[in-house]
Symmetry: C2
Subunit: 317 residues, 2 copies
């Protein structure tokens, strides 16, 4: 008789609670605090022996602290004889360092996968990884969930599809936009960043490839971090005659100037998920937050029942 | 032709610089910064191929950030073909969580050893580990250095040895004090914390075992964290007629109330090392800081020359 047990770190307990309530389960009571020198203490308040354990932690700021906490939780679960440990990372930290962009750089995304494996993770569950290659970094099964249906259906219901154009803010990330066009049957445009030949190493020309005049443009990306790329892309769209620009991205990292930039931009709606916590002082009127909890709960159920998670992929890999 | 290369993270560059200057070497220029969302970027500014690499980082606050930075540095060194990677951790984080004190706790000290191994560490160098067992956690050679000669010689030169008594603040840690008595030829006393039978789980009686009346007592420990243990022990010594109390500890963690407690206590001198950085606002008049840099530099030389580090142990294991 296997027992599903759900755990959360301190990074984003609201999401974990929502997932638990979708499952009709409760979170396992866990004591977690920082000692005076910042070392983390963790202890589970009930037996976890033989359990099918799922440990949720979003890699939000302070990101290294929350990654370490999740590693320590996995270590404690392993030593307390959990039968299988699935690490759920809605937003996977260090995903952008997934290759050596230059010599003598780390590949931190791979390092993270190895650290979780070393701590005792049997399985990884993530939402919209920055690149699919990261699945190959983990030595074990990876459930890669996609927020596309959630985000795209919201956009599809809200906007006149006849007027909609899907826009990739970066030529290097057209794949995501491509999946949107498939789902919504909308045409595609791409922002092409060209280096100004007069200014070395400076991206200064944002060229729009595709027809956006008079269109409702939805800029799609996996994350909004400082908002620089997205806001520059939106400006380029308006400069090319776009009627309206909305933004849809899975991960609301919203670092530093992001909120001010988005608020002050002419973007009319910013649609994100709750893969990361959004503190109240980072919320703003035109922000829409959709919940990934039902999707994560379904994936947990499938893993627990040894079903296939592939059905959640909806054909996208 | 092997090449010794010395690297430092951002936690305590002063110590690394001192070690470098002891070696007549320079630190390898390293770019390290935090991205907007707190993820760490690291890159070495010159080739490390084939090097005998030594990476210094003290696990000080924000401790999880600095541990992660050191892991990422090791990952980058490994991928850039360093020949051997020695991780130098003057103060080893999570050392106090070296066993399951209760069920369903992690063994974080072991986890850290495994994380460094996974990142690519071939060898570990530490100073005064909280317990010697931690050496057994790392799957590879460990150089365990002792600050005892440094601290004890300072005390021996400063104090009339005839009047000196070495005191262990905790019956569980008499081993450290025992090494002091060997070195200084001084008698031993022990603070025995007894639980008050009237108050469950509360340590309230500090019994002094040994003769301290009219003596100059040196309280010895591996670290001063919040200072609670040390200051309570000093009070117990004065209550038992001690003439003077000084404190000697390798690691100046100095968390939270530590500085206020030590300042306001009747302790006349607090002797520590620079295994951890001491910010200016945590320094106080009666604090003496001794440098471990010469010792670390000697150990690096011995490792590099494939000599034995054991000579630095001075018979203590
Ligand atoms: N947390 C981060 N924030 C911003 N840039 C990052 C971060 N992590 C890595 N990068 C850099 O982003 C670039 C890759 O981004 P991308 O092309 O979107 O995959 C590389 O130059 C990375 O060094
Ligand atoms: N960073 C820390 N600060 C204070 N106590 C700790 C820390 N890490 C672990 N502990 C606890 O300290 C106790 C062991 O201390 P000791 O007996 O000195 O080895 C255990 O109860 C640990 O859970």
């Amino acid at each position: 008789e296997r027992k599903l047990m759900l755990f959360t770190g301190r990074a984003h307990p609201e999401l974990a609670k929502e997932v638990a309530s979708e499952l009709g389960a409760t979170l396992v009571p866990t004591k977690a605090f920082d000692f005076a020198n910042g070392e983390i203490y963790v202890r589970f308040e009930e037996s976890v022996r033989g359990s099918d354990a799922f440990v949720i932690q979003s890699h939000t700021a302070p990101i290294n602290t929350w990654i370490m906490e999740q590693l320590i939780m996995v270590d404690a679960l392993k030593r307390a004889s959990a039968k299988r440990i699935t690490v759920i990372i809605p937003f996977y930290g260090y995903a952008r360092q997934d290759k050596k962009h230059r010599g003598r750089e780390p590949i931190s995304a791979r390092l993270m996968a190895d650290l979780f494996k070393t701590a005792g993770a049997d399985r990884l569950m993530c939402v919209d990884l920055h690149t699919s290659q990261i699945q190959g970094f983990f030595d074990g099964p990876v459930d890669h969930l996609f927020a596309l249906p959630l985000l795209a259906d919201h956009v599809g219901n809200r906007v006149d599809r006849e007027r909609l154009t899907v826009v990739s803010p970066d030529a290097g990330r057209v794949r995501v936009a491509d999946q949107w066009t498939d789902r919504l049957g909308a045409p595609l445009a791409i922002i092409h960043k060209r280096r100004d030949p007069n200014v070395a190493n400076e991206v200064s020309v944002h060229e729009v490839v595709g027809e956006v005049e008079g269109r409702t443009c939805v800029l799609v990306d996996d994350m909004i971090d400082t908002g620089g790329t997205i806001c520059a892309a939106a400006e380029a769209l308006f400069a090319n005659g776009a009627a309206d620009v909305i933004v849809a991205a899975t991960h609301a990292v919203l670092s530093g100037p992001a909120v001010d930039r988005l608020k002050n931009s002419r973007i009319s709606e910013v649609i994100v998920t709750n893969s990361l916590p959004i503190p109240n002082d980072r919320r703003f009127d035109k922000l829409t937050e959709l919940s990934i909890a039902p999707m994560v709960a379904r994936a947990i159920t499938e893993v627990f029942e040894d079903g296939s998670v592939t059905s959640l992929f909806e054909g996208h890999s």
